[in-house]
Amino acid sequence: MRKILIAVVLSAVPALALAQQNNIGTCGWGAKLFDGQSGMAPQVLAVTTNGTSGNQTFGITTGTSGCTQDGVIKSTWKTAMFIDGNKDRLARDMSIGNGETLDSLAHLIGVREEDRATFGRIMQANVSLIFPSGSTTGDSVVALKQVLRSDRELAQYAVSI
C-alpha cells in the first residue's frame, strides 16, 4: 500500500498530463445517465428509456463526434468511457475482487487469464485509490494506470489504458 502511495506521489507530474489527456468531461456519459435520475417522477417522464435525448452521441453514421466514430467508441477512449459508465458497479466489483464489471474491465485492457487473480487482488487492495472521495472519471483512469504500473506483474497492462 505504502509503495503505491509513494509511486502516486512521485509520478504526480506525469499524472497531471495524463489527467488532461484523459479529460472525459467532453464525452463521458456518467453525468447524463445518473444526474437527476431519482424518484418516480423522472421515471414517469421517461428521461432515457425510450426517449433518447436529442443529441447524436449514439448516432450510427454521424461521423466523428466527441469520443465516438459513427457511434462506436474510439479505441483510445474505451477504458475511460467504460469506467465512466460503470462507476458504481466497478467500484463494487473491485471491493469484492471479482464480478462481471471487473471481468469486463480486465478484458478491455487485455489482462491475460493467468493474471486475472492478481488483477482482482490488486484492484481489491486499491479500490480507495482508484475511487478516491469525490473523484472524477479522469482521476480514476489515472489512478488505475498508476496502480497497475506499481505492480510488477500488472505493469505491462498499464500501457493499454
Binding site: 421515471q43 414517469v44 428521461v47 453514421t61 466523428t64 459513427d70 467508441i73
Partner: protein
C-alpha cells in the same frame, strides 16, 4: 481577317469523342443493369421490399414505404414505386462522390441494397467502380460481430413508453464471452425527443409525433439503465444467425443510421422495427405480418421464439432490486438487521458488532448494504445527506474482507416472458344479476390483469387497453354494453422494511351505474388512487398479497342528477394463490359520493381464476353491490381464452 470556326469545332469534337465513350458506357451499363433487374423481376422480390420497408396499402392496391425521411428513397416516387426506386438506386451507384467524415457515396450509404443487388446482378467493377466504404468497414471491424441477441427488459409500469417492456438488439463480438457481454454494443430503436412532460410524451407517442431512429451504444449503458436505475429484470435471447445474416443486419443498420420513421407506441414501435430489421437480413422469416395493428414487445419476442431454431439460448439478468431481495432472503435475521442502518449511514461501516461476524457473513452484509443503498439512490429514497460517502465507506470496508459471501445466484424464473399467456383474451360466460339471467361476451385486446396467471409477467402489474363486456339479459333489459374501458392500469408493489414503493391505479371508461330513478345508464368516469400492499409471508414468491387503496371516482353524465358525481373511499383486498392454478381475490370497495350526488356505494365480492392450460382459464366472479339505496347480487361463470 475572316472568322474561322474550325478550331472551336475541332475542340468540341475532341471533347465529345473523349467523353462519349464514358457516357455511353455508364448509361449503357446502367441500361443493361436495369434491363436485367426487370428480367429477374427484382422490384417484386420480397428481399427488395423488406430492404425498402414497403408495406401493402390498407385499401388501395400497391405499397408504401414506412421510412419517412426523403433521403431513404432515391426516386421521387420511390416511397410508393419499388421499380423506379430500384432503378434510381442502380443509377446512384455510379456516383463518384468520395467518402468524407460527413458524406458517403451511395454505394456505402445504402450498403445493404448494394450488397443484395450485387449478388443478384453481379456488378462488373470495371464498368461501375466499387467504392471502398472505409467508414462502414471500420465500424464493422470495431463491432467484430459474431452473434446477435434480442434483449427484452421487462415491463415498467411507471414509464408510459415501457409499460409493455422494450426490445433491443445486442451485437456480440468474437472475443467476448458470458462474463464480458457488457462490452458488446446495443442497437436501439427509440423515439428521439427531449420531451420531459410525461403527458405530452404519451400523446405524441400515440400519434406518431416523434421521429424514431436507430442508435448504437455500449450494452453496459443499457444494463445500468434497466438493471440498476429502473430495476427491471432483463431477458437475453441469443439468436442463431449465420455470419452472412449478421453482416446483413449490420449493413442494414448502417443504412438506417440517418433515417427516421414516425414512432408510434402501439404499432410502429421499438419492437416492430427490430422485427423489420431482422426480416431485412433474413427475408425468409415472417415476423412482422402479425403486427399490423399493435406490436407488444413480449408478443414480438414470442414471434421470434416461434421461428424454428432461431433462438439458441436464453439468459436471465436480474435487476439490482431483485438481487437485493433475493440476498436479503438468504440472510440470517442477525445479518439482515445490519442492512438498513448501514445503508442509511446510521451505524459506521466499521461497527464493532459487524466486525464480530464471521468474514463471509460480513462480506454479505456489506455487499447487500451497498446494493441496497444504490437501490435507494436510484429510486430517490435515500435519506442520507451524502450517500456517495456512505457508499464509499461500505466499499472500503468490504475491500478489507478477503473472504467471499458465495451466495447462490438469483434463480431463473420458471417462465420466460415468451412463455406467458397470450396478450389478447376473449371470454364467454353466463350468470345471474339482480334476478335476471344473462350471457356475456368479454374481450380484452391487451394485455394482463391481476387475475391472469403471472408466469412470464411482472407480478402485480395490470395493464389493459379497450377492455369491454356485452351482455344479453333475459327479461326487459335485453342486450346491452356492460362496460368499455379504454385504459386501466394497476400497479401493486409490496412493501417491507426495505422496500416501500407506492401502489397506484387508474382507469377511465364507461360503465353501468344505477341512478336515482332506478335505470342504469352507461356513465363515463375516471377512477383511481394510491395504495399500499404487502406480501404474506414477506418473501419474493409469497402466495398472498394484500392491498389497501384510497380511491376516488369522478363521473360525468347528463342522466346524473347534477350531471356529475364525485366520490372517495377505501378498498381492501387480497390476491391469494391457493394452488399454482387457482387464485382467489376477496375484496371490499366503498365510494362515498359527496358532490353532484350523495350516495354511499359499495361492492363486496370474490373473484376466482382456475388455469386450465396456457391458453385457457375458468373464472367465477361473485359480488354483492349497493348503489342509490338498492342492493343486488351478481354471479358470473366464464371461460377465457388467451391468444
Amino acid at each position: 481577317m475572316s472568322y474561322s470556326p474550325r478550331p472551336w469545332w475541332a475542340f468540341l469534337c475532341l471533347v465529345c469523342c473523349l467523353l462519349a465513350p464514358c457516357f455511353a458506357s455508364a448509361s449503357t451499363y446502367l441500361d443493361e443493369l436495369i434491363g436485367r433487374s426487370r428480367g429477374l423481376r427484382l422490384p417484386e422480390r420480397r428481399e427488395w421490399h423488406r430492404l425498402m420497408h414497403y408495406t401493402s396499402n390498407l385499401i388501395t392496391p400497391g405499397v408504401h414505404g414506412l421510412a419517412d425521411a426523403r433521403r431513404f428513397y432515391l426516386a421521387p416516387d420511390g416511397k410508393t414505386n419499388p421499380q423506379s426506386e430500384l432503378e434510381a438506386t442502380l443509377a446512384a451507384f455510379f456516383s463518384d462522390v468520395q467518402e468524407t467524415d460527413k458524406e458517403q457515396n451511395p454505394q456505402c450509404a445504402f450498403i445493404a441494397r448494394y450488397d443484395w443487388l450485387d449478388r443478384q446482378l453481379h456488378f462488373d467493377p470495371s464498368r461501375m467502380a466499387k467504392q471502398p466504404c472505409k467508414r462502414y468497414h471500420d465500424w464493422h471491424d470495431t463491432l467484430n460481430p459474431q452473434g446477435v441477441t434480442l434483449i427484452f427488459p421487462a415491463a415498467h409500469v411507471n414509464n408510459p413508453s415501457s409499460m409493455y417492456g422494450h426490445t433491443l438488439l445486442r451485437i456480440d463480438a468474437k472475443d467476448q464471452d458470458e462474463k464480458t457481454r457488457l462490452l458488446a454494443y446495443a442497437i436501439n430503436y427509440a423515439a428521439n425527443t427531449n420531451e420531459t412532460n410525461g403527458i405530452a410524451f404519451a400523446i405524441n407517442g400515440l400519434i406518431g409525433g416523434y421521429p424514431g431512429t436507430f442508435s448504437i451504444m455500449p450494452y453496459y449503458l443499457k444494463v445500468r439503465e434497466y438493471n440498476d436505475m429502473e430495476n427491471r429484470d432483463v431477458w437475453e435471447y441469443e439468436l442463431d444467425l449465420s455470419p452472412e445474416t449478421i453482416d446483413r443486419v449490420l449493413m442494414h443498420v448502417w443504412e438506417l443510421g440517418p433515417i427516421y420513421f414516425d414512432y408510434y407506441f402501439f404499432d410502429e414501435n421499438c419492437s416492430y422495427y427490430l422485427l423489420e430489421l431482422l426480416e431485412a437480413a433474413r427475408p425468409d422469416l415472417d415476423l412482422t405480418s402479425a403486427f399490423r395493428w399493435w406490436a407488444i414487445p413480449s408478443d414480438t419476442v414470442r414471434q421470434v421464439v416461434k421461428q424454428k431454431g432461431l433462438v439458441k439460448r436464453t439468459v436471465f439478468r436480474p435487476s439490482n432490486a431483485t438481487v437485493v431481495h433475493h440476498r436479503l432472503e438468504l440472510m440470517s435475521p442477525e445479518e439482515r438487521a445490519f442492512v438498513n442502518p448501514l445503508a442509511r449511514g446510521r451505524i459506521p461501516s466499521a461497527d464493532a458488532a459487524l466486525a464480530a461476524l464471521p468474514p463471509p457473513s460480513r462480506a454479505r452484509v456489506l455487499e447487500v448494504s451497498y446494493d441496497y443503498l444504490n437501490y435507494l439512490r436510484a429510486t430517490g429514497k435515500s435519506s442520507v445527506a451524502q450517500p456517495e460517502e456512505v457508499a464509499r465507506t461500505l466499499l472500503l470496508e468490504r475491500s478489507r474482507v478477503s473472504a467471499s459471501a458465495d451466495d447462490p445466484p438469483v434463480p431463473v424464473p420458471e417462465a420466460r416472458p415468451d412463455q406467458g399467456h397470450g396478450t389478447s383474451r376473449i371470454g364467454l360466460g353466463g350468470g345471474r344479476r339482480d334476478g335476471a339471467n344473462f350471457v356475456e361476451l368479454h374481450g380484452r385486446p391487451t394485455y394482463h390483469d391481476l387475475m391472469d396467471p403471472d408466469a412470464g409477467y411482472v407480478r402485480g402489474a395490470q395493464i389493459e387497453f379497450f377492455d369491454f363486456a356485452v351482455r344479453d339479459y333475459s327479461g326487459d333489459v335485453g342486450a346491452r354494453v356492460e362496460d368499455v374501458t379504454p385504459l386501466r392500469i394497476v400497479s401493486i408493489s409490496p412493501r417491507n422494511e426495505f422496500f416501500q414503493p407506492l401502489s397506484w391505479k387508474i382507469d377511465t371508461g364507461w360503465a353501468r351505474r344505477r341512478v336515482a330513478n332506478g335505470t342504469e345508464p352507461l356513465v363515463f368516469g375516471v377512477h383511481g388512487g394510491p395504495g399500499l400492499a404487502w406480501t404474506v409471508p414477506d418473501t419474493l414468491r409469497s402466495s398472498t398479497m394484500v392491498y389497501v387503496f384510497l380511491e376516488s371516482t369522478l363521473q360525468a353524465d347528463t342522466r346524473l342528477e347534477n350531471n356529475y358525481a364525485l366520490g372517495i373511499g377505501p378498498s381492501v383486498g387480497a390476491l391469494i394463490d391457493l394452488t399454482d392454478r387457482w387464485r382467489a381475490e376477496p375484496y371490499v370497495r366503498e365510494q362515498s359520493f359527496f358532490a353532484g350526488d350523495t350516495d354511499t356505494a359499495w361492492t363486496a365480492g370474490l373473484r376466482q381464476r382456475y388455469t386450465l392450460d396456457r391458453e385457457w382459464a375458468l373464472r367465477l366472479d361473485m359480488s354483492r353491490e349497493r348503489q342509490e339505496k338498492q342492493s343486488w347480487n351478481t354471479v358470473l361463470l366464464s371461460l377465457h381464452h388467451y391468444f
